[in-house]
């Protein structure tokens, strides 16, 4: 189901009454049903949130995202008990064989490269060889086609001197914000399907608590790239303001296409997550990734 996204960037207080979220700010007092909320982004040090509220939010599998001084998402709260047979699903996930994980990673990278290719074709209006690259991805991506594709991709994406860096300059800050939102959405969908976010299929840095989300979000990244590209075309602004944030947050409802149905991104992520869960259990062979463009 489509859930609401709330962005709090001004001073306000978040409390509950009758199990509903009560928002009190200087300009507006409203109540919002907590079960309708999917994401909350808290981006102001002067926001008060009660423990009861946090508890209720987490009980409803809301991803609560906290931003740091530079307004970039810094961390998130997620439910630890979001699925009724979590123990059983975790077990399958922990015991997943290496070949299975390698195959899942291969599928993921193929989808990612294909999506990158389509976006690049849309932007540059010329054919590229990403489909060829996607065809060459091996199990576990041992030949590292991901990096080969990324190299072409970023070179032709923004201007020539753009460098994709974690703490780089504009438009890296926009990309980072977008990816963080996408990551939170993916993590929420995964934990909703009873999967353990910490245990990735490819990412396995010991410092990364959301490795699985980082794996599964890969094919979806071009959605953010597209949004940032559109922003750089239409706005001169180089800092993250509320308008730009709201454009990036709206990518969560952007339509994506499965074989015979279309759904908003956040619903699609849930479908992808549940198909991954079935892959671990052995009921499916393929992760269900949507096409990002029709």
């Amino acid at each position: 189901m489509i859930k609401k996204t709330l962005l709090f960037s001004n001073k306000c207080s978040l409390t509950t009454k009758h199990e509903q979220l009560v928002v009190k700010s200087q300009t507006r007092d409203t109540t919002i049903p907590i079960e309708d909320i999917g994401f909350i982004v808290i981006d102001n040090p002067e926001i008060y949130i009660s423990i009861t509220t946090l508890n209720l939010l987490i009980a409803n599998n809301v991803s609560v995202i906290i931003c740091n001084k530079t307004h970039l998402p810094n961390g998130m709260f997620l439910n630890l008990n979001s699925h009724h047979i979590q123990q059983e699903i975790f077990k399958h996930q922990v015991e997943a064989s290496l070949p299975l994980k390698k195959q899942l990673w291969q599928q993921t990278i193929i989808e990612k490269i294909k999506n990158q290719g389509i976006l690049l074709e849309k932007i540059t209006q010329s054919k590229n060889k990403f489909d060829f690259l996607a065809g060459k991805v091996l199990s576990g991506d041992t030949s590292n086609m991901e990096a080969v594709a990324a190299n072409f991709y970023w070179k032709s994406f923004f201007e020539i001197n753009f460098k994709r860096e974690r703490f780089g300059n504009y438009p890296n800050n926009f990309l980072n914000y977008g990816y963080a939102i996408l990551r939170a959405a993916t993590a929420r969908a995964l934990s909703g399907s009873g999967l353990l976010n910490t245990l990735g299929i490819h990412h396995k840095s010991k410092y990364n608590a959301f490795a699985l989300a980082d794996d599964i979000m890969e094919p979806f990244r071009p959605i953010i790239d597209e949004a940032v590209h559109t922003i750089t075309q239409h706005y001169d602004e180089e800092d993250l303001n509320t308008e730009i944030k709201s454009i990036l947050l709206q990518t969560l409802t952007r339509t994506v296409y499965f074989k015979d149905e279309k759904s908003p991104l956040m619903v699609a992520l849930q479908k992808t997550a549940s198909s991954l869960q079935q892959c671990y259990v052995g009921k499916r062979k393929k992760i269900k990734y949507p096409k990002l463009w029709n």
Binding site: M1, I2, T5, L6, F8, H18, Q20, K262, S263
Partner: protein
């Protein structure tokens, strides 16, 4: 499934509940409190509304209302689309009151 004005639903709950005995009053206030907990907001006395992002979600809330029904009194549940709800006219005295901004998928505070 996409967000649009024909898929978004509004649920209305109208009720007239007896308040003669203490038990009646308890039932009535209990019902009121329970629908508030389900995310309904008061539009007028005994008229409560709720925004539902899809008709499936409206189904869920209709079912919940059925479970919460008090033993006595009249309760009506009405479902309309967001498009229809957009045509509502509100008056306070004779002056028309501007519509409240509808809840959107992304809200900024």
């Amino acid at each position: 499934m996409e967000l649009n004005g024909y898929r978004i639903m509004w649920l209305f709950v109208f009720f007239d509940l007896p308040t003669e005995t203490a038990k009646d009053r308890k039932n009535a206030s209990g019902f009121r409190k329970n629908i508030l907990k389900d995310g309904f907001t008061m539009m007028q006395y005994s008229v409560y509304i709720r925004h539902c992002a899809s008709s499936e979600s409206a189904d869920v809330h209709e079912k919940r209302i059925k479970r919460l029904l008090p033993p006595l009194g009249k309760v009506s549940v009405l479902r309309i689309t967001d498009k229809q709800f957009g045509n509502i006219m509100n008056f306070w005295g004779r002056a028309e009151v501007p519509k409240e901004p509808p809840p959107t998928q992304l809200e900024l505070f």
